[in-house]
C-alpha cells in the first residue's frame, strides 16, 4: 500500500496491533505459564504471573506417569499416515479434474462439498459397524483411513485450485516431447506444484492432528491419540491444572511449528481456494 505513514501514526498502529494480538494470545500464554507452576500455585488466587518457582515437574509427571508418549506417537502416526494416504489418492484425482476437462467437474466439486454438510454423528454407527466387521476398531489404521476420507474433499479441492493455475501448455509440451502420463505427472506437474502440495500436506496434518469426533468415538486405548488423552484428562485425587497445561502445551507445540510455515496456505485451503 502506497500510503504515507507518519512515525506517530505508525506507533499507534503498532500499539493497537500488539494489544489485539496480546488479547488473543493471552490464553495460550497463560497455559504456557501454568504448565511450569507447582499445582498449588496454579490455582492460587489472586493468580501469580511469573513470580513463582518454575518447575518441570508437570511435564515429568505427564510423561512418566500417564503414558503420554504412546498417545503422542499415535497422534503422529495417525496424522502423518492419513496425510500420506490422502495424497496418494488426491494428487491423481486433482490432476484429472484440473487437466482433463469433463462436463462433470463442477458437479463433482459440489458433491465433495456436500460431504462437509454431513453430520459426523449421523454416520458414526454405520462406519463403526464397517470397522467392526473388518476387525479394525481401536486401531491406528482405522483412524488413518477415516480421517483421510474426512479430509479428502478438502485436499482434493485445494490441490485442484493449485493445479488449475499451472498452464496446461507446459504439460502439453511435455506430451509432445513424448512423455507418458506417469512421467507427465511425476516429473512435470509435481515439481511445479510442490508449493501447493506442501501446503496441502501441512494443512492435512494439522486437521488430522486436531480432529476430535472420530478419535474420541473410535478409540479406547490402543490407538488413542492426544485429543482423547486431553479430553479425558482429570484426576481422581487433587489438583491437575498444571499437568493439564503441560499436556496441552506439548500437544500444541508441533502444530504451532507447522502453522508458522503455512499460515497463508491454511487460509486458502480452508476456503476451498476462494482466497488466494
Amino acid at each position: 500500500m502506497a500510503r504515507v505513514v507518519t512515525p506517530a501514526q505508525k506507533s499507534i498502529n503498532t500499539a493497537a496491533a500488539w494489544v489485539v494480538a496480546l488479547i488473543i494470545f493471552f490464553p495460550i500464554l497463560w497455559t504456557f505459564l501454568t504448565s511450569f507452576k507447582p499445582e498449588e500455585v496454579a490455582v492460587a488466587s489472586p493468580p501469580v504471573f511469573v513470580g513463582f518457582d518454575w518447575t518441570m515437574q508437570n511435564y515429568h509427571d505427564v510423561i512418566a506417569q500417564r503414558g503420554y508418549g504412546s498417545y503422542f506417537w499415535n497422534s503422529v502416526v495417525i496424522s502423518v499416515g492419513s496425510t500420506v494416504l490422502g495424497m496418494i489418492i488426491a494428487i491423481p484425482a486433482a490432476w484429472a479434474m484440473a487437466f482433463v476437462h469433463g462436463k462433470r467437474t463442477k458437479d463433482l466439486l459440489m458433491w465433495m462439498l456436500s460431504t462437509k454438510m454431513m453430520p459426523a454423528a449421523g454416520v458414526l454407527v454405520p462406519i463403526y459397524l464397517m470397522g467392526k466387521s473388518l476387525g479394525l476398531i481401536d486401531t491406528r489404521f482405522m483412524l488413518m483411513i477415516v480421517l483421510m476420507l474426512m479430509n479428502l474433499p478438502i485436499i482434493v479441492w485445494m490441490l485442484y485450485t493449485y493445479f488449475r493455475e499451472i498452464p496446461g501448455d507446459i504439460l502439453e509440451a511435455a506430451r509432445m516431447d513424448g512423455a507418458n502420463l506417469m512421467s507427465e505427472i511425476l516429473y512435470v506437474l509435481t515439481p511445479m506444484a510442490i508449493p501447493g502440495i506442501a501446503s496441502t500436506l501441512l494443512l492435512n496434518v494439522i486437521l488430522a492432528w486436531n480432529e476430535s469426533f472420530w478419535t474420541l468415538n473410535l478409540t479406547t486405548f490402543q490407538a488413542a491419540p492426544l485429543t482423547k488423552f486431553i479430553a479425558g484428562f482429570s484426576s481422581p485425587q487433587g489438583l491437575f491444572y498444571g499437568k493439564l497445561s503441560a499436556a496441552s502445551v506439548m500437544a500444541i507445540v508441533p502444530i504451532m511449528v507447522i502453522g508458522w510455515f503455512s499460515q497463508k496456505q491454511l487460509v486458502r485451503g480452508l476456503t476451498f481456494g476462494a482466497v488466494k
Binding site: V100, M117, M118, T227, T271, K276
Partner: protein, 327 residues
C-alpha cells in the same frame, strides 16, 4: 525428483497418436478419480443412506439387523385414544430436539456474526503498517490451529468459578461482584461456549479478511483520500464490496462447522441443557440412550437442515465457490 530423461518409453504408433493419447488420458482420468469416488461413497454416501434408512425403522443398537420399517414414526406419528384425544409422538414434537435446534441456531448465528465482525476489525488493525507484523500474525493464528479439545479444556479451567483467572480479572475490574461458574451455570453456559468459539475462530476470519484486504489496490484509498471521502464511507463503499466474495465463502464454511458443532460443547459444557446442539443430542440418542432409530432420524434431520441452508445461501448470496468466475 530424478531426471525426467530416464522415463520416456513411448510405445504408441505414429499415426493417430493424438487421439490415442487423448483416449489414454480420458481413461487415466477415470481411473484416477475412481478411488476417490469409491472412498467418498464408502464413508459418506453409503453410511448416510444407511442412517436415513435406520431412521425409518425401529432398529436398536443391540439388534442392528432386526429393525422393522415403521415409516415416519420416528419423525412424527399420532395415536387417537378412545376418549378422542390425539397424542403426537416423534422427534418433531420432542421439546428436547427443538431445544437443541434452537441452541444450535443461536450458537451458529451469534458466533459466526461476532467472528465476522471482530475478524474484520482485527484485519483492519493488522493491515496497517507496524513493527513486528509477521510475528503478530503468526501469534494470532495459533488459537485457530490448536485442537478444539485443548482450547475447550484450557477455557474450562480459565472460566472455572474457584480457580479461573477470568473471574479474578473481572472481579478486579469491578465488572462482577462474585465469582461465576460460567460453564456450569445455565444462564451463562451458552455465552461461555460462544466466547470460546469466537476466540478460536476470529483469528481465522481475520487472516481471511486480511488476504482480501491485500487484494484491494492502494491507489483506490489514495484516490478516495484526495477526493476527501470519509474513511468510514470508503470502508463501506469500497473495501467491503471488494472483499465480499472471500467473506461469503468464509461465512459459509464457518456456518457448516457451527451447525454441526460437537467437540467444544462435549468438553466445555457436557450435559448442559442450555448448550446441547443437534449433533450432541443425536449422538446421545444414537449411542447412550439406546434410541438408535430415533437418533438416526435426528441426524437425518440435521443433514437436511444444513443442506437446505447451504443451498439457500449459495443461491441467495451468489457465492463463487472455488473461485470459478475469477479465473
Amino acid at each position: 525428483m530424478t531426471h525426467p530423461t530416464t522415463a520416456v518409453p513411448v510405445a504408441a504408433p505414429k499415426n493417430g497418436r493424438e487421439t490415442s493419447l487423448e483416449q489414454q488420458r480420458l481413461r487415466a482420468a477415470f481411473w484416477f478419480l475412481a478411488p476417490m469416488l469409491l472412498m467418498l461413497f464408502c464413508v459418506a454416501a453409503w453410511p448416510l443412506m444407511r442412517s436415513i434408512w435406520f431412521s425409518f425403522t425401529d432398529t436398536s443398537l443391540t439388534d442392528l439387523h432386526g429393525g422393522k420399517w415403521v415409516g415416519f414414526d420416528n419423525y412424527l406419528s399420532y395415536r387417537q385414544l378412545s376418549s378422542g384425544r390425539v397424542i403426537w409422538r416423534g422427534t418433531l414434537v420432542d421439546p428436547a430436539w427443538w431445544n437443541a435446534v434452537w441452541n444450535t441456531v443461536k450458537f451458529a448465528v451469534v458466533s459466526v456474526s461476532l467472528e465476522t465482525m471482530f475478524g474484520l476489525v482485527v484485519a483492519l488493525v493488522l493491515n496497517a503498517r507496524f513493527a513486528g507484523r509477521g510475528l503478530v500474525r503468526a501469534a494470532i493464528l495459533i488459537p485457530w490451529a490448536i485442537p478444539t479439545i485443548v482450547s475447550a479444556k484450557m477455557w474450562g479451567w480459565m472460566l472455572n468459578d474457584q480457580f479461573g483467572i477470568i473471574n479474578d480479572i473481572l472481579l478486579n475490574l469491578g465488572l462482577i461482584s462474585e465469582k461465576i461458574a460460567w460453564a456450569a451455570n445455565l444462564d451463562t453456559a451458552m455465552a461461555a461456549v460462544i466466547l470460546v468459539d469466537v476466540w478460536k475462530t476470529t483469528p481465522f476470519m481475520a487472516l481471511l479478511c486480511l488476504a482480501g484486504l491485500q487484494m484491494v489496490p492502494g491507489d483506490i484509498y489514495e484516490a478516495a483520500r484526495i477526493d476527501g471521502i470519509h474513511p468510514v464511507k470508503v470502508f463501506f463503499r469500497v473495501t467491503l464490496p471488494l472483499i465480499r466474495p472471500a467473506l461469503m465463502v468464509a461465512v459459509i464454511f464457518r456456518m457448516l462447522d457451527a451447525l454441526r458443532m460437537f467437540d467444544l460443547v462435549y468438553v466445555l459444557t457436557p450435559n448442559s441443557a442450555a448448550t446441547k446442539t443437534m449433533s450432541i443430542i443425536s449422538r446421545e440418542n444414537l449411542i447412550e440412550f439406546d434410541k438408535f432409530a430415533y437418533g438416526s432420524a435426528q441426524s437425518s434431520l440435521l443433514f437436511a437442515i444444513i443442506a437446505i441452508f447451504v443451498a439457500l445461501y449459495i443461491w441467495l448470496g451468489k457465492v463463487d465457490l472455488g473461485g470459478e468466475k475469477s479465473k
